[in-house]
Amino acid sequence: MISGFNSQACESVKRPMEQIQLTGIRKSYGKETAVQNLDLTVNSGDFLTILGPSGCGKTTTLRAIAGLEEPDEGEIQFGERIIFSRKQGVIIPPENRNVGFIFQSYALWPHMTVEQNITLALKEKKLRRTEVESRLKKALEMVQMEPYRKRYPSELSGGQQQRVAVSRLIALQSTILLMDEPLSNLDAKLRTEMRTELKRLHRELEATTVYVTHDQTEALTLSDIVVVMDRGLVMQWGTPYEIYHHPKNLFVAEFIGDQRVNCFKGTISHQNGQVTLDCGKLILPLNQDLPSNSGKVVATVRPESIEVSNQEKKGWLKVNLSSVQPTGANTILQGSLEENEITLLQPGFIRKGIDEPIWINFNADSFNYFDEETERNLIIRSTV
């Protein structure tokens, strides 16, 4: 139709796994910038999660990959194939990109049965009837939904609808899967279940997957690589372990983690060969090698990395509790340490009154240190 459109794109039914590469993607809506100069590579077969608060540009990025949004700048490649390039004027429409996309709402067509929902696109591709039937059968089998093929979406539960959306995606045999918060409409238990299923699905299909979520548990459990975004910028890019334990900046440190990370503001002082963090009344002993010129510092430590004791021990610090919240397997303890709020996470169901104090001990290795102004991690580790 128009030069630059790739008419062969829709023929790619069975392709080898593909790498996705985004270079210099920028997108703004009016004055608001959704994505700023984003570079991103998803290796073929990887499960990559884009994680961030709402409005961080993660969904825009995903939609740009699918072709549902056109970036203002930049280039997108699937393998060797350029599917979008502002410079070269190449734009392959979403119809011809052959990606699988799961929407937050599942986007099942309410007026069609499960079967019709799955086969509409296959019939549109003019596949032979036997082929359509076998793909439908296999796709339904994979999500254990064969008994429901004649049902309408409204007759299915949320979890079942989700499965239908997944099987529709399976039947299309796309080599790239894009998922936009697919679990956020499910209740907690079902979410855990579907998470396991999605992981299994990814392994079986061996498809390159980009998963968008604001739920960091999903990101940590599912992904090979996690990309943390905020305000249109990539904050960090790494394995779940790196993201959790070595956040590159304060934003990532605070955003990741079920319980909020503990923050202490202070200044580093080197005295008598001892490195300490001076936070007013609270002096935290630290044995890390930090740049000696670092001025104001924010130290963070995860609630579960702090040792807790019911008895007073030498060198341990006293915490006055303000709340004890057992969640079943764990217990969240909140209290004050001098003038600082502190959150602790202990395994087990702790039954304890808030009038009894506890004592804690910091393990210096579990701290991360950030420059208060730039919010960057002061210790640079090589990533990935």
Partner: protein, 614 residues
């Protein structure tokens, strides 16, 4: 490659090939923009050109004016019409009196109609009154009847000897002549219009009442408010936006209404704005008529503007609690049966009584003689061979009536069909393009026909299509112009149904099809159309009803070659052929009701819900 100092980089060249493909793609990639642009272009022509035309014609010399300005030439600029209408010797009769009549009728009818409608809506929606379902349906029937059915019935009862011809039932049975103010003019016009337009108030208010969450009221009583405080501090403010639009929409409609004021006012030379426009146009004095039409348009715009200014911000109240609310029934206690009785009597008087009177009227051999011995079927199945029937064959044998009937049905169906398609396209373009200027303009222009009072709109279309317009031939006197004007006049409703239908279809339902490789046409036919079907059908039904019973809009445009039932009834009545007008009106009403029942069975009970949107 050597870089050119004038062109720093490829990406800054606005007209580079890459940029061009980029922009073309962006347009092709968003079909809603193309559709929206296309719709905007056509609608602007159909809605804005008429406005410009009438302004131009009202400011230039017309052939009629040559008698007063022999030296001028047709088309010359002049303030002659404005002077004559606003300051001239005739101003009082031409402008001031009709204006005051129209305003007085508008205010009275709006007050009575909206109050009655609101009361009825409250009784049916919020209380434990009996026979709710039946009342709910009956209350909408006046909406399906032509507004002047009541006027015809009124004449049958109260006609006096003032203008000759047969006399009404009162004279026949009691031997008294009803005074003029009862038979004709202001009083009967207000009564008849009120008994018709309460249906609009009912439709708008019952929708609003049904969507007020009882929890909001219960929250008030938990805070220690008494019933009166809850009513005035919570319920009424929540209903204000709906009440405001009910008042404004009813008022504007009444300003433009023609049938009732013509039937009940013209015989005693009681003019309203709409009948004055009609009279001026009939006298070929289009300049004056257009000035009057402009005044009506300005009035309508002012009303809408005031409504938006006063209540605009609160518009979102009612829709905010669209989900998961429940409504608590108010127990009427000992008042339950009396209230049920009153509602029944009222609905019987507005729905059944006029139809029965018209039926009776159509069965009378000699007009004015209501004895049972005077009954005949001559006007239904006679061949027209006897003198008393004016040589007109009965309804079922008359070629004129049957062809008008066919024309009416054709008009209703065609208008409904085109309106459905346009409503769908406008809805699609507006909703998918949300946030763009195009979407905003399109929505605005689709609403614009509302501000043209029907009679004025008809007047404009005569002027506009009396000569050929580029590729469009002169449409005056053709059937096409009736379809065109009906479609355009109904745009505000159909585009609204289209928009609300489209708003219910999540964007992702279409996007998921896109990503799966399904093309635009297929997406439209397999996803968008089926999902919006029920909304579309009810929008089309609304157009069908309106088109079938429309008189004000098309009275100026019909001629023997494109006669429809409503025009025929008006003609019969002018010629004092009461049997024929009664019979044809009855026929028309029954067809409309049958049509809407049929459409409702096909598409399941949503017809009512869209009538509410109108």
């Amino acid at each position: 490659m050597k870089s050119n100092s004038l062109v720093p980089g490829e990406s800054t060249q606005v007209f580079s090939r890459a940029n061009l493909t980029y922009y073309i793609y962006r347009l092709v990639n968003r079909p809603e923009l193309l559709i929206g642009f296309f719709c905007l272009l056509i609608l602007s022509f159909l809605v804005l050109t008429p406005l410009l035309e009438i302004i131009r014609d009202s400011l230039s010399i017309q052939s009629y004016d040559l008698a007063y300005r022999p030296n001028a030439e047709i088309g010359d600029f002049t303030l002659f019409h404005f002077e004559r209408v606003f300051t001239g010797k005739l101003s009082n009769a031409l402008f001031l009196k009709p204006l005051l009549n129209s305003l007085a009728i508008g205010v009275c009818v709006t007050l009575i109609g909206v109050s009655v409608g609101t009361l009825l809506a409250w009784l049916i929606v919020r209380t434990n009154i009996r026979f709710k379902e039946i009342f709910g349906i009956l209350a909408v029937v006046p909406y399906m009847m032509p507004s002047w059915v009541l006027a015809l019935a009124w004449l049958s009862i109260f006609k006096n000897d003032r203008i000759g011809g047969s006399e009404g039932m009162i004279t026949f049975f009691f031997g008294i002549q009803p005074p003029n103010w009862v038979s004709y003019g202001f009083f009967p016009i207000v009564i008849c219009l009120s008994l018709h337009y309460y249906a609009y108030g009912y439709l708008l208010m019952s929708g609003a009442l049904a969507s007020v969450d009882s929890e909001l009221e219960e929250a008030g009583s938990i805070c220690g408010m008494n019933r009166r405080q809850i009513m005035w501090r919570i319920t009424v403010p929540l209903l204000l936006p709906a009440l405001g639009s009910a008042i404004v929409l009813t008022f504007i409609r009444i300003l433009g209404t023609f049938g009732t004021p013509a039937l009940l006012g013209l015989p005693v030379r009681f003019f309203t704005f709409s009948t004055q426009i009609y009279a001026s146009l009939n006298a070929r004095n289009s300049g004056d008529a257009y000035v009057l039409a402009l005044v009506l348009i300005v009035l309508a715009i002012t009303c809408i503007w005031i409504n938006n200014r006063v209540l605009g911000v609160r518009k979102s109240f009612v829709t905010m609690t669209g989900k998961g609310f429940r409504s608590r029934e108010i127990k009427l206690g000992p008042w339950c049966w009396p209230a049920t009785m009153c509602v029944f009597l009222f609905l019987a008087a507005t729905v059944f009584l006029p139809l029965m009177i018209l039926l009776w009227e159509s069965l009378i051999f000699t007009p004015g003689d209501y004895n049972f011995t005077n009954l005949t079927m001559e006007y239904w199945i006679g061949d027209g061979s006897i003198d008393e029937v004016y040589g007109e064959p009965g309804v079922f044998l008359s070629d004129g009536i049957l062809s008008s009937l066919w024309n009416s049905c054709k008009l209703g169906l065609m208008a409904a069909f085109f309106n459905g398609i346009i409503g769908l396209m406008v809805g699609y373009a507006v909703v998918r393009g949300r946030g763009t200027l195009l979407s905003k303009w399109l929505e605005g222009i689709a609403f614009a026909p509302y501000i043209f009072p029907s009679i004025a709109f008809g007047a404009i279309y005569i002027g506009m299509f009396s000569t050929s317009w580029g590729p469009i031939p002169a449409l005056y006197g053709t059937f096409a112009i009736l379809v065109l004007i009906t479609v355009v006049k109904n745009l505000p409703f159909t585009s609204r149904t289209g928009i609300s239908a489209m708003l219910q279809i999540d964007k992702s339902l279409e996007e998921t099809a896109r990503v799966q490789g399904i093309g635009w046409l297929k997406r439209m036919f397999r996803i968008i159309v089926p999902l919006s079907f029920s909304g579309l059908v009810s929008g089309m039904l609304l157009t069908f009803i309106t088109a079938m019973r429309e008189l004000s809009l098309i009275i100026l445009l019909i001629s023997p070659s494109n006669m429809v039932l409503t025009g025929l009834i008006f003609n019969y009545n002018e010629q004092d052929m009461t049997q024929h007008s009664g019979a044809v009106t009855l026929l028309l009403t029954l067809i409309i009701i049958a049509g809407s029942v049929m459409a409702r069975t096909i598409s399941g009970g949503f017809a009512l819900s869209t009538l509410k949107n109108g």
